[in-house]
Symmetry: C2
Subunit: 470 residues, 2 copies
């Protein structure tokens, strides 16, 4: 009966340079081998009778969401594409309308896609304990038992018990100062506001209509424009832009008299900074959290992440964060990592791309990585997923050499269609229509050498595209 709703709209610049606008943190394997998004989805599948999730995400991330769900065997989930970001109240409302359509009694488990939960058993248990409350028309929020007087989170104050494990909410409080936070923790009556909820879709919509009717009405107008497109559901952008931007906390939870909190201790983290990731990560005896090829001498309480074929050596560091990626490296004092936002802002105002795109770029058909670049050439490593096909396309300013290094390609070049396999190459002259398809069962990897006077990604004319980009 529980329908998981995964809120995946975050743009996650606080974990730059690993997290960037085109592939924010929920889609990265920050802890373990699967992504935060996948871990969140998998968590919902541990509930007894969970349905496949409704995901709400930005249009830009639709192929990433679809692929990451497919990897979990959850193709066929509903993926609601927000044509504009309007915060959590409208996002959850769209999901609630979608769920109510299928099942008027549906209970939603609303989870941000980018949270980490160390103790999933406790979390699942809390959801089970919260379910009767949701069935009794409470809007349940999960309150995290505070481990420290954090000033980076909002707090929820408990009032009277409404069940064995739930309490009426006395009040929501904003991020406190250190003194207030210490007092909250000491009192024992406060929990961290996690942004995770359990309630009936219908009940949420009723409360939204009652307390924030403008959001309700505008969102209902958006939902009326829903256009299913395979797993995706698209909405009208102009209508979406009309929706007031607001969080579920402001729009509903702080106003309703049906808010309940179910406290839980489950080693939760919103991974809101590199420092938070360091806190949540497994650490060695020196307090270091290392990932990749790292040699550390006399280094303590430090987080290091690097990438393939790149080692990082550290000497004499304490409380530092080092994140190396192919095109950008961050080195920051651990207690200053919140200023990474300033770096991202600087990059943005300088018209650069490093805050937005990784060197490796994901596409619905696979990915490419710009491995070298010169004045009149660029070299890319291209990976095409089995069965996938790029658009039928043409470039005005560049010719391309393709060398297959793994797998088998079906190449269309002008009128000709032919197969190319490992260690074979071909040439696509400037101006000639071409297409690349992986007809095999294993990933197709090829090296593309582009040659020409202009090598921008926008020199592309698409004639046909299975992903609707033509």
């Amino acid at each position: 009966m529980i329908v998981p709703v995964i809120l995946s709209g975050g743009s996650g610049t606080r974990l730059w340079p690993l997290s960037r606008k085109n592939r924010p943190k929920q889609f990265l394997a920050l802890v373990g081998n699967t992504t935060l998004f996948q871990q969140t989805v998998e968590r919902t599948q541990k509930l007894g009778d969970a349905r496949s999730p409704i995901v709400v995400c930005s249009e830009d991330h639709r192929f990433t969401v679809a692929e990451q769900l497919q990897e979990l065997g959850l193709g066929g989930s509903s993926i609601l594409l927000e044509p504009a970001a309007r915060n959590t109240a409208p996002a959850i409302a769209l999901a609630a309308m979608q769920a109510r359509q299928n099942d008027p009694e549906a209970i939603l488990l609303v989870l941000p896609a980018d949270h980490l939960i160390g103790d999933e058993t406790s979390f699942v248990d809390a959801v089970k304990r919260a379910t009767p409350l949701a069935a009794q028309d409470w809007l349940v929020t999960f309150g995290i038992r505070p481990e420290a007087p954090e000033t980076g989170f909002g707090y929820i104050k408990r009032a009277d018990a409404v069940s064995d494990s739930g309490f009426k909410v006395a009040k929501f409080v904003e991020k406190p100062n250190a003194e207030a936070a210490a007092q909250y923790v000491q009192s024992g009556d406060f929990d961290w506001n996690s942004g995770m909820f359990l309630f009936k879709a219908s009940r949420y919509l009723e409360e939204l209509e009652k307390h924030s009717p403008a959001i309700y009405t505008a969102t209902a107008r958006v939902f009326a424009t829903a256009q299913p497109d395979l797993d995706f559901v698209r909405f009208d952008k102009a209508s979406m832009i009309e929706v007031p931007d607001d969080s579920i906390d402001y729009a509903v939870m702080e106003k309703t008299d049906r808010a309940a909190v179910v406290p839980v201790s489950c080693r939760w983290s919103d991974i809101g900074s590199w420092s938070a990731l360091w806190e949540a990560a497994d650490k060695d005896a020196d307090g270091n959290a290392m990932q990749g090829d790292v040699i550390a001498l006399d280094t303590h309480n430090t987080l290091v992440r690097t990438y393939e074929r790149h080692m990082v050596a550290t000497i004499g560091l304490d409380d530092v964060v080092i994140v190396a990626t192919p095109d950008a490296t961050l080195v920051a004092a651990r207690d200053k990592v919140q200023d990474v936002k300033k770096i991202v802002d600087q990059l943005s105002s300088a018209g650069r791309s490093e805050h937005q795109a990784h060197r490796q770029v994901y596409r619905p058909w696979g990915s490419y990585d710009s491995i070298d670049m010169g004045e009149r050439f660029q070299v890319k490593r291209i990976v095409v997923k089995p069965g996938s096909v790029l658009s039928l396309q043409m470039h005005h300013h560049r010719a391309e050499h393709w060398i297959v290094v793994s797998g088998t390609a079906e190449v269309t070049c002008g009128e000709k269609v032919f197969l190319l396999t490992e260690n074979q190459s071909t040439y696509i002259p400037l101006g000639v229509t071409h297409r690349l398809r992986n007809v095999g069962k294993v990933p197709l990897e090829l090296i593309e050498v582009q040659s020409g006077s202009y090598l921008g990604e926008d020199d592309i004319v698409r004639f046909e595209d299975v992903y609707g980009r033509a």
Copy 2:
């Protein structure tokens, strides 16, 4: 009359990861656009009647030395190739024997290739002031007027004046502790031991024979095996290994009664560590020395170097050294950089290559950079200098695709010889003899995609090689 002798045998691991065994720090542009070696050579050309230099270096660096001299228009210099490193006393003896052969009265100006001199006018002036002393058979060492009570250098104590600007050496003292160093500086009688000398070749050899006859005799035996080969002079390795390993300080300077010191203030640095480079570098208002694409927030007294197409962002750092290279990044506390040696040792004992070779590898004909690598393929960017030619070669385990992206190549593949120009490609099958030549006037750049089950550099059979490597 003055013959510069450039000692270029250092392996320079203290500036890892920028400096590595195959291309140590003297061959890098650490300050300014030319290398330390080139700056040292150019310095000698500012003396009135300087000859072209005698360079003493390792066989491994012969092409680098030849190329860097050529860039200065000093092709035709003598390059003495040490088949084994035996410290400065034998290296200078070989140079002295070479110089004496041409001119029995030759005066040698002996300079390590990896020192920085900020005030060249003062240095040149000191050499001029020292020349009469050298002519009077003094072995002159240049004493750097101490700027601080450094404990990382040896000191020289002055005795009575022997000219307007020179003093008899009272004694040489080893690297002192902090207390002794402070006392030396305060006394005004001590200078830093720079390792730069001026003396007659004949006089040095006489003193060497007198005080360290074993070194003299063994080195004379090596010199008897000299084999000129264009600019290079080669020596017998077995004979070289017989030479006792010793420094000029121990073998001669501390023992002779003809040692004189000429003090000089010339902003000298031996750039013995990243910290020393930071000291010597131009710094911004925050005390930062930055090179490359760097964004620094709230960062002070920090050195950052990065490479092409890679940005480094720093937040909240003080007194840190960050050196990013394509395959390895160092992040170290500035007062702990001497431990970089331990990193290099760890890499060495783990049988890795990052302490020895850069990703970009220099060859006599140009260079290559391994820009990507997979299970059965490797991608290289190859640059061939105008007029240069690779060996006629064959591989047992790999085929190669070549795509020219700049310049013009003459390709030999089996029986065929043909030209390949920008945006043209060819295929070299496994087992086929081939050769690549830059017949043009501009550098030839090509992308090579190797495909095969074994891609090591040692899968090469050379049939002919203009550089004597066949």
